[in-house]
Symmetry: C2
DNA sequence: GTCAAACTACGATAGTTCTCGTACAATGGA
DNA sequence: TCCATTGTACGAGAACTATCGTAGTTTGAC
């Protein structure tokens, strides 16, 4: 038990040592999820699910957040009716130094490149 | 046409600018394929498909190499009866600086960590 | 207690993926 | 020419994925 539950509703997260590279890469290999992770990294803080304006339904959004959580990429905590999402940057940086930043850089590179024709 | 065909049998590859981050991450998010890429990176040279002793059948191996090729991760060329595979490190490093090395480092970290209990 | 907001659960569908086995094709040597 | 090596094509099955819609739960405010 690292942190006290913020709500009666707890969500299962992999412990740091249970996070697997393949699962992380898989979680990041989807348009929507990469977009979520980029926004979380850019903001640097916790964001609610509803903050993201994704072109899919709410239930699909729920699905993508669960994939990210189960892979160990984000940490989710209920705060009232909202479910807050935070990047597990500390855990990822410890396990896979430089990986998250490299992926974020790569995503930025690519979107810049595609934008400039 | 960058390089002359080594054989009458040519294989389709994405051009550098057609390589997509999500496809690369997806290609790398599989046990077998990550293993292939790690061996290619460690060897530094071209290796034939048969060089890899993967715990799957030949047709499955063919499948994985095709996924890697179509994502732009490896370049495949026929040389006699052998099909040689080389990492497209130059292209990947140009498009996504540091990404490949970060993934390879992460894989090395993880396998070391799992080996040491 | 009622209500709206936020999110989940479940069932369904269409598409993709990983895997195999069998049969086939191309190459290079004996 | 015949053969061994190497890899492909095709068909198929089981599992997974992304997506949706509908119906439900939890919470906080009124």
């Amino acid at each position: 038990m690292t942190a006290p539950a913020v709500s009666s509703r707890d969500l299962p997260h992999p412990r740091r040592e249970e996070i697997r590279l393949e699962a992380v890469l898989h979680a990041l290999s989807d348009r929507m999820r990469l977009r979520i992770v980029r926004e979380l990294a850019a903001d640097g803080d916790e964001l609610s699910c509803s903050h993201f304006d994704l072109p899919v339904t709410k239930s699909t959004t729920t699905h993508h957040f669960r994939v990210l959580r189960e892979a160990g990429v984000v940490r989710q905590v209920y705060r009232g009716t909202a479910k807050m999402n935070g990047l597990r940057k500390d855990d990822l940086d410890d396990l896979f130094p430089g990986l998250l930043d490299a992926v974020l850089d790569a995503a930025a590179h690519e979107s810049r490149r595609l934008r400039d024709r």
